[in-house]
């Protein structure tokens, strides 16, 4: 209670925000134009519907319900777009404006906890977005006049709008805490918002597809033993991501960098566990679902799709975590420092030297997450996957009679698809170690490469871009079918270090993952070792170059340890 009081009622930043935000006319103009755009669009939708109805009266059997639906979809989409583009605009200046106004350092030196800074900036933006979103509620009520929209749908929409705006604001805040100027921060916010928005769009179309197939608006999935709607999963993911982004801001809003580096790392670890388990559940439960629906949904998602998300996310995480800068001291003691990175203390510090061990930890967690997914699906598959009642043998009435079915059903079901390209869960479980070996060697190989690049270019952002480009050359370029044959031949050289190759081999050919499949693991290990050797050479070269006249910059934690 005391803490809450400090956070909200006695928080100088919140107080200042409330004193100044609604001062002047700017906020009211934003509100006015927001509602204006929505109203105008809604009217247009309505009139186009009316004219359509006049021209083709036989097309509609219910006179108004489609109008309600059309208006609802327009409002949802328009509002989602507005919210997505307004939220980062509010927060991406939150910290950079302080930097530009030169009040940032003064604020850092006060005794406001950093957590309060993040909290108040987020809540100020979130409160304003809530004001916008809820002021449009009366417009939504018009949909109910026409009918065709259920209140549950409205609630889902609002939930998603809120979590989406939370994500947008935390993204803006993160860039704001990292960059030096508002212009850069705004640009980066919108550039990075682009990808999540597309992913969100796909997720939503997938959900509505499932909804259409199942004829129910609340398609439930089981997640680590909890029953959730797909919207719920999406909301959890968005909130989780927002928390991670906020924790990144938290580590940047401070005079001394690298303190509390454990927070984003720990959260990322948890998130990766959640995501890999969840993706597994989604894949497996939609399989069970399609089986239950029989001919309605012919496509089954192969079990190997569970590897898709990790195969995409681990390279991205390598690029994010294994780039940065070594201090001169670290570079001079590179071997000692890299070894220190493997100590528990090293991993919790958010420094470049401990990025490899941290990423290895992530690989372990991801594989564990996938395995949890398999194991839980084997155990709880029937009970929670939401099978319809027409298959009474799969509907456990009591736990004692249901247990046998519960265990056998997924295997039995998956075995029927074995002929195509789905592998049985048990078989997948047996591959855990191989998968782990692949991910670990991948992290080592590509991670070392990224570290080498960032040491050479000495700029984190350039290093990130270069690593991403090299990843794209290895992964995305071979996917292009209209490629020059010579180039294609050249690109096959990179196959052993392509993370997607694992997926495609087991995906299309039904081949099990092998530790030394096509020497992939070995090539990755060699690439990593080579990168490390080059890094070592560079550090020797650098030490020779500097001589004794340079001050060795010791890392922060080293200084504290010595004191």
């Amino acid at each position: 209670m005391n803490r809450l009081n400090r956070l909200i009622f006695d928080n100088p930043l919140v107080l200042k925000e409330f004193r100044t935000r609604m001062r002047g006319t700017r906020a009211y103009w934003i509100l006015f134009s927001y509602l204006g755009v929505l109203t105008l669009g809604m009217m247009l939708t309505y009139y186009s519907f009316i004219s359509l109805n006049h021209r083709y009266p036989t097309l509609m059997n219910s006179p108004t319900a489609p109008a309600g639906e059309a208006i609802f979809y327009f409002l949802t989409v328009a509002q989602a777009f507005l919210v997505i583009f307004i939220t980062p605009a509010i927060t991406s200046g939150a910290i950079t404006l302080e930097k530009e106004q030169r009040t940032y350092e003064m604020m850092l030196l006060t005794r406001i906890p950093r957590f309060d800074i993040v909290f108040s900036k987020m809540s100020a933006a979130f409160a304003f977005v809530c004001l916008l979103i809820f002021s449009s509620l009366p417009l939504f009520s018009i949909c109910f006049l026409f009918g065709g929209v259920s209140p549950g749908k409205l609630i889902h929409t609002y939930e998603l709008l809120l979590t989406g705006s939370l994500f947008g604001s935390s993204l803006g805040l993160m860039w704001s805490s990292i960059s030096k100027s508002t212009t850069i921060s705004v640009m980066l916010s919108y550039a990075t918002l682009f990808i999540p928005v597309i992913l969100l769009f796909f997720a939503l179309s997938y959900i509505s597809f499932l909804e259409n197939v199942s004829n129910s608006s609340s398609f439930m999935v089981s997640l680590l033993g909890f029953k959730l709607s797909l919207y719920g999963v999406l909301n959890i993911v968005l909130i989780f991501l927002s928390v991670i982004l906020c924790s990144v801001s938290l580590t940047h809003i401070q005079a001394f960098p690298q303190r509390m580096g454990w927070l984003p790392r720990g959260l990322t670890l948890l998130f990766m566990y959640f995501v890999s388990a969840a993706s597994c559940f989604l894949v497996l439960s939609s399989n069970s679902f399609s089986k239950s629906q029989g001919p309605v949904l012919l496509m089954t998602i192969p079990t190997q799709m569970c590897y898709l998300l990790p195969c995409i996310m681990i390279p991205a995480l390598v690029i994010i975590f294994a780039t940065g800068e070594f201090t001169a001291w670290e570079l001079a003691n590179i071997i000692k420092r890299m070894l220190w990175g493997f100590t528990p203390k090293g991993i919790t510090k958010g420094v470049l030297a401990s990025s490899i061990p941290f990423l290895l930890l992530i690989s372990i967690v991801v594989v564990a997450g996938i395995n949890t997914g398999f194991a839980m699906e084997i155990r709880h598959g029937i009970r929670n996957a939401g099978y319809p009642a027409m298959q009474p043998m799969h509907q456990p009435t009591s736990t004692s009679s249901g247990t046998t079915n519960m265990k056998s059903f997924p295997h039995e079901y998956l075995n029927t698809y074995k002929g195509s390209y789905a592998t049985s869960l048990k078989q997948m479980e047996l591959q855990t170690l191989n998968l782990l070996a692949f991910f670990c060697s991948y992290v080592f190989g590509f991670g070392m490469f990224c570290i080498l690049i960032s040491t050479l270019v000495q700029n984190r952002w350039v290093a990130m871009a270069l690593s991403a480009v090299s990843l794209a050359i290895v992964v995305i370029l071979p996917l292009n079918s209209q490629l020059n044959p010579d180039l294609r031949l050249f690109l096959t050289m990179f196959d052993p270090v392509n993370p997607l190759i694992l997926l495609s081999r087991s995906f299309y050919m039904g081949l099990p993952v092998k530790i030394f499949y096509q020497d992939s693991t070995l090539s990755l290990l060699v690439a990593g070792a080579l990168s490390f050797f080059l890094l070592f050479l560079y550090s020797i070269f650098e030490r020779r170059n500097n001589g004794a006249n340079s001050v060795s910059i010791r890392p922060y934690d080293e200084m504290v340890a010595e004191l």
């Binding site: 006695d10 928080n11 100088p12 930043l13 107080l15 200042k16 004193r19 100044t20 001062r23 002047g24 530009e100 106004q101 030169r102 009040t103 350092e105 003064m106 604020m107 850092l108 030196l109 006060t110 005794r111 406001i112 005079a255 001394f256 001169a328 000495q458 700029n459 340079s550 001050v551 060795s552 910059i553 010791r554 922060y556 200084m559 504290v560 004191l563």
Partner: protein
């Protein structure tokens, strides 16, 4: 103002600010720049330290390291016995920092601005109004209490920033060029304010390139150039160090030559007798006509505090002495000599 924060542990040393072998290297895209190079310094309670150096000498960098805004590359800084790297939060609560370029928030009133910082320094709600009134009157801004901050003039903003620095009654104040951009009147006012703060027992560190205003109230100075502290210590000691001895200036009504020869004969006390130019004389004492006195300068090399021996012998020989004094150490002079590499 409330006196808070007394539970801080004290180290073996009693110095308020203790800097030893402090260095800072900036690395920007491969280039290295040693902005501060091996500086050591100790300031006691109540000291006012003038930190002087040309542009880019590393003053701001040093002050930021003391203010817990930059991590030193090597060396250590203790403020009131607290390590700035190890316990930045404790240091921040006893420290007032006024940056060289600072800003103010938009759409906010003067008292709200101060209230914001008071709240940010965890001063309880009921104590804030009194403190705000206090610091406003101390900085002569009481009339502007309800004005919007962006409507203040530059000098007023500067004073507001100083007021903000005082809100939590810090023991140590770091003022980075507090007087730049101020008119002479405001400058004098700031000087008065600093004297007042010194009386309150605060330790103050001021950086500036405007030298004459520093010697008025600093008891210690340090001169920094290219990241290296060339000289530091007591103002008078430094000027003696620079000139080799203490300088005494006398004004005689007539018989200049006899005075010079007399002084030159006392070679165990006096060296380097110089006749000051008449124009200098005029400037210094404008209410005298140009013929009413010649001034000359000599270096005193005798025992400290025995300058009266010279005066006595001059008076005994019948010379008409109008003035006998030791001019204040001229910082401009010190600065120019030192930064030209005359003294190492």
């Amino acid at each position: 103002m409330s006196i808070r924060q007394n539970g801080t542990e004290r180290n073996h040393s009693m110095a308020m600010i203790e800097i030893s072998n402090l260095s800072k290297e900036y690395r920007t895209s491969g280039q290295k720049l040693l902005a501060v190079n091996n500086i050591s310094l100790a300031l006691d309670k109540g000291d006012i330290f003038g930190f002087i150096g040309p542009n880019g000498a590393g003053k701001t960098t040093t002050i930021k390291m003391i203010a817990t805004l930059l991590v030193p590359s090597s060396g250590s800084v203790f403020v009131d016995g607290l390590d700035v790297v190890k316990e930045p939060d404790k240091v921040r609560s006893i420290l007032g920092y006024m940056p060289d370029s600072f800003g103010v928030y938009d759409d906010i009133k003067v008292w709200e601005y101060l209230d914001f910082f008071a709240a940010a320094y965890k001063i309880s709600k009921d104590k804030r109004p009194a403190i705000i009134d206090d610091v406003l009157s101390l900085t002569d801004l009481s009339v502007k209490k309800n004005a919007y901050v962006e409507s203040l003039s530059r000098g007023m903003k500067q004073r507001l920033c100083l007021a903000k620095t005082l809100v939590h009654d810090p023991k140590v104040m770091l003022l980075d060029e507090p007087a730049s951009g101020l008119d002479p009147r405001a400058r004098i006012e700031i000087r008065e304010l600093l004297r007042e703060l010194q009386r309150m027992g605060k330790t103050i560190m001021i950086s500036s390139h405007i030298l004459p205003e520093m010697e008025e109230f600093c008891n210690k100075i340090g001169i920094i150039e290219k990241g290296e502290m060339i000289v530091s210590g007591d103002v008078r000691t430094i000027s003696r160090q620079v000139r080799g001895n203490q300088v005494i200036e006398i004004t005689v009504l007539e018989e200049l030559e006899r005075a010079v020869s007399l002084l030159e004969s006392m070679n165990e006390y006096v060296n380097d007798v110089k006749i000051m130019s008449r124009s200098h004389n005029e400037n210094q004492n404008t209410h005298f006509s140009s013929s009413t006195g010649h001034s000359l300068q000599f270096g005193y090399i005798g025992e400290p505090n025995h300058e009266y021996v010279v005066l006595n012998s001059l008076v005994d020989s019948g010379l008409k002495i109008r003035a006998f004094h030791s001019p204040k150490a001229d910082l401009e002079d010190v600065f120019m000599r030192v930064t030209k590499g005359l003294v190492n």
